[in-house]
């Protein structure tokens, strides 16, 4: 049984409880008083399908699928406007990212969403050497939609690239693989361990 199905089975009709038990800072969602301040403060919320306020209401209304497949929390830029303004002091930004992560773990995150894709690319890039290879990350972003558009993007940003090189903000030799952190395997082990603990916890929670 997939983790998702297990969670549905376990929490049945109570998505608020599921969020409280599994999402980072999800325990806070019940304290939202639906004042709408976050929705009004978010510089991007207007462009999203669901503002933080709406997402929190949907959680209470047991709209599980709609919440977990929403792309709104993937678009949060962590500007923290909502956090500083929430009269109930909910850690909204963290909940947004918590929801995104949870959705991803259950395999429900929207595949086509570019920020979702970028997050994954960023993570994989970083995990290779223990630090971000900016050149490779940049290039993979340019070439995200295929070779032709990649070339076009690169030409368009040529000047920026040259300037960054001059300012030693980008090293062309990084393309060869780049340098890593000192104890790369140690770091990878550490992350793996953390991921295992997290997976175990979710697994246990789903029982």
């Amino acid at each position: 049984m997939s983790l998702n199905t297990a969670m549905v089975e376990k929490y049945r009709n109570n998505f608020l409880q599921e969020v409280a038990g599994n999402v980072e800072e999800g325990d806070w969602v019940k304290m939202c008083m639906q004042c709408g301040v976050c929705a009004g403060s978010c510089p991007l919320g207007n462009a999203w399908e669901h503002t933080p306020q709406k997402l929190f209401m949907m959680i209470r209304a047991n709209k599980r699928d709609e919440v977990l497949t929403s792309d709104s929390m993937w678009m949060c830029t962590s500007c923290y406007n909502c956090i500083v303004r929430c009269p109930r002091e909910l850690p909204i930004t963290h909940i947004m990212h918590g929801l995104a992560t949870y959705a991803k773990k259950l395999g429900l995150a929207p595949q086509s969403n570019p920020t979702q894709w970028f997050s994954e690319t960023f993570w994989n890039n970083m995990m290779k050497k223990g630090r971000v290879n900016e050149l490779k990350l940049g290039l993979s972003l340019y070439f995200k939609d295929g070779f032709v558009s990649g070339i076009k993007e690169s030409i368009a940003h040529q000047k920026l690239g040259m300037n960054m090189m001059k300012a030693k903000r980008m090293a062309p030799m990084e393309i060869m693989g780049g340098h890593g952190v000192k104890d790369l395997s140690g770091l990878q082990k550490m992350i793996k361990k953390a991921q295992d603990i997290e997976a175990e916890r979710l697994e246990a929670n789903s029982k």
Binding site: N13, N14, L16, Q17, A20, K30, M31, M33, Q34, Q53, K54, M57, M58, R60, A61, K63
Partner: protein, 747 residues
């Protein structure tokens, strides 16, 4: 009424800049020559110890018994210039003259004229008044009657008893406690405001029963109340048929509320399923549960999902609904939702709210506690509860803008509080009228049982404000009703919770005690608290027209068999509305009468037409308009020096003879200033201002017979905050006169 030689003494203060701005010796001359004040003195600091002693000495020496103070407003230095053994009048030379006039040579002449007139007016007033003394009718009775044995009534009784007064507590039911005794728990009133709390009602009932000063009458109602504060005679009727009479000094009506009948909202289907209950019915289910889980009534199944629907039939324009909101239902539902969280384990508990009302820090904390306990709050409007098997609630989620249907084992309806008042004595006035002005009876009018059975000319019970709540001066004197010495407390006055009702009860107890003490001394209740004067009535002149009995806002006047008015001094609030109403002017007070004002009007010096100095009579309500004008003075706001301002107790006390006399003697304009009237009234005597406006509506005829322009008389509603506007209204009249010209009636 006292019979004595009046010895007028005029004392003029030259302090506070009065001496610099005015010719004080001329004022003294005016007081002597025109005012006929035998004793005239000037002092450069009259309100100082030395100044006051100077006056007191003259009184003690028998030189003076009528004191005229020419200085600051009657609203300043009240304590300093209090001479209870004398009649005191004030000429407002400071706030009412020098402070509202520019300090320059050009204005000097008219300012001095204004001051001279103020002195003349104060002397004339003094001459026509008497030193007020209590009538001798008063009685002191230190027993209170409290009607209603719920938490409000019991708190009133305990507070009064603790203050040393005796209480007769009457309760219709067989037990004390009222609605509160039916509650499983109450909303918390102690930190941390996190969980429902025991009501503690048993301890309160025991305290009432144990208190030596309190006599409890159960199964008892009030079958008749007659008399007045200090000497009420109340007949008590016991269910068994026996009756008794008690004498009390004051009364507190704490008759509480009834629950709104959810049958008025058919879509809630309250009668279709035993599992659709009102908030009060849920208390019984919780009590029945003991410490176990709450079970649903239909089949005894443990409730595992419950939906609360807030504001059922409240704050709604629809027929049969309550047009107001009780304000406490959201706190009640949070409390009840907590019952389920505490007793029913993992029970889905949803509150469908509209505008969640959880006032105060306690309310906010309790709301958070509810959220913390995983009560689901949804802003949603329920359209229907579908009965049968599992209940279904149809509602619109207002945040998600989407229709939902949720099922539940139990549905709780938050229904509002309906005041338990007796019939409104003035209900007929508010009914629609037919062509002849007769009220059209409403077909489905519910007959309400009387609670006090007052033997008053003006109805059996306390007048209502709106929606059946008893009338009071909502802003200034919340416990006061329109029947002096009878106070209302608790939800009969406005919807309130336990905490508020207990505060209310303590407040009403204190007011009732004050009322009976005042009645014992023959003193008025506020806003004229302490006033010893009372309506004096010359029966020989009375035409039995009934205007006074009808218009008295406080139902103070009864009628004898022949239709003559019978004044009940201690029911009277000294507003003077009866005096203003009486067409033959047979009603007066020692310190306020048709003459005390009429003579002030007559004693103003009216320059002849060619002097281009018009005179504007301003009759200003002493409660709001006059203070507003005083404050204008304090703020240096100027107004016309042609105005002659006379404070009146209430615009309702204005007798039209004053206006006719003023117009006949050459005043060019008249401005009347009273408090706002109507539904949002601020009149301190409730109806006085309204009566005055009604009477002034007819002044046009008088003006016509005199061939005068209608614009010469203007009536306004003025609030105490109208510090800029009140002077402007006077100036507007000055401008009007400039346009239409001087009155031709100057001699």
């Amino acid at each position: 009424m006292a019979n004595y030689d009046k010895k007028l003494g005029a004392y003029i203060c030259s302090g506070c800049g009065i001496g610099d701005r005015l010719d004080v010796s001329q004022l003294e001359t005016t007081a002597k020559r025109d005012g006929k004040a035998a004793n005239c003195k000037t002092h450069d600091f009259l309100c100082s110890k030395a100044g006051v002693e100077m006056i007191q000495k003259d009184i003690d020496d028998g030189e003076v018994n009528h004191v005229i103070i020419g200085g600051c407003s009657r609203r300043s230095k009240i304590e300093a210039f209090r001479f209870p053994e004398a009649a005191v009048t004030r000429a407002n030379l400071r706030e009412g003259c020098i402070w509202i006039r520019p300090d320059n040579d050009e204005a000097q002449e008219t300012t001095q004229e204004m001051a001279d007139d103020l002195i003349r007016m104060a002397c004339a007033e003094s001459k026509y008044m008497n030193i007020p003394t209590a009538s001798g009718e008063q009685e002191l009775n230190k027993t209170l009657l409290v009607v209603g044995g719920g938490i409000t009534g019991m708190t009133t009784a305990l507070e009064s008893a603790k203050a040393g007064y005796n209480v007769v507590l009457v309760e219709k039911a067989a037990e004390l406690g009222g609605w509160m005794a039916q509650l499983h728990k109450r909303t918390p009133n102690k930190m941390p405001y996190a969980a429902p709390q025991d009501t503690g009602i048993d301890a309160t009932i025991a305290a009432v029963n144990d208190h030596a000063n309190i006599t409890v009458h159960l199964n008892t109602t009030v079958s008749k109340t007659e008399g007045a504060p200090g000497r009420f005679k109340v007949e008590l009727a016991v269910e068994s048929g026996s009756a008794s009479t008690v004498d009390v000094g004051a009364i507190v009506q704490a008759s509480g509320f009834n629950m709104f009948d959810p049958a008025n909202v058919p879509a809630m289907n309250h009668d279709k399923s035993a599992d659709i209950v009102t908030n009060m019915e849920l208390e019984a289910l919780a009590n029945a549960a003991g410490d176990g889980p709450i079970k649903r009534p239909s089949d005894g199944k443990q409730v595992s999902s419950v939906i609360f629907i807030q504001n059922v039939g409240q704050n709604s324009e629809e027929e049969g609904h309550l047009p107001y909101h009780s304000g406490i239902g959201d706190m009640v539902s949070i409390k009840q939702a907590m019952y389920f969280k505490h007793l029913n384990g993992d029970c889905d508990t949803t509150i469908l709210f509209d505008n969640l009302r959880t006032p105060g820090a306690a309310g906010e904390d309790f709301y958070r506690a509810g959220q913390d306990a995983m009560v689901t709050f949804r802003k949603g409007i329920a359209s229907e509860v579908v009965a049968g098997g599992d209940l279904e609630v149809k509602f619109k989620d207002m945040i998600l803008d989407e229709e939902f249907t949720e099922s539940a084992d139990l549905v709780v309806l938050d229904v509002g509080m309906v005041p338990n008042s007796g019939p409104d004595p003035y209900a007929a006035d508010n009914l629609p009228k037919d062509e002849d002005g007769n009220p059209i009876e409403e077909e489905n009018a519910v007959s309400v049982e009387s609670i006090l059975n007052l033997d008053y000319r003006q109805g059996t019970d306390l007048p209502h404000l709106r929606h059946g709540f008893t009338d009071s001066h909502f802003i200034c004197f919340p416990y006061e009703t329109r029947r002096t010495g009878i106070y209302s407390a608790g939800p009969v006055r406005r919807p309130m919770d336990i905490h508020q009702t207990m505060e209310d009860a303590a407040g009403a107890a204190m007011k009732a005690i004050q009322a009976l003490e005042n009645a014992g001394k023959g003193r008025a209740a506020h806003p004229r608290s302490g006033d010893l004067s009372y309506p004096l009535f010359r029966k020989e002149g009375c035409t039995q027209c009934k205007r006074c009995t009808v218009e008295c806002p406080f139902g103070a006047i009864n009628e004898d068999e022949k239709g003559f008015p019978v004044f009940n001094e201690s029911r009277c609030r000294r507003c003077g509305t009866c005096m203003g109403a009486c067409p033959v002017r047979v009603i007066s007070f020692d310190n306020y009468s048709v003459d005390t004002v009429g003579q002030q009007i007559k004693n103003v010096d009216i320059p002849d037409e060619f002097d281009e100095k018009p005179r504007i009579l301003v009759l200003a309500c002493e409660n709001d308009a006059y203070p507003a004008l005083d404050m204008a003075g304090q703020n240096g706001i100027e107004y016309s020096s042609f105005a002659r301002i006379i404070p009146v107790r209430c615009l309702g006390s204005v007798n039209t003879i004053w206006l006719t006399d003023a117009l006949n003697s050459g005043y060019d304009g008249i401005v009347l200033m009273g408090c706002s009237k109507g539904d949002e009234y601020q009149c301190h005597f409730v109806k006085g201002s309204e009566m005055a406006h009604y009477r002034m509506g007819k002044i046009a005829d008088t003006l016509q017979t005199l061939s005068l322009e209608e614009e010469r008389v203007a009536t306004y509603e003025v609030a105490i905050t109208d510090i800029q506007r009140a002077p402007k209204l006077i100036n507007d009249m000055a401008e009007t006169i400039e346009q239409i010209g001087m009155s031709p009636f100057k001699f």
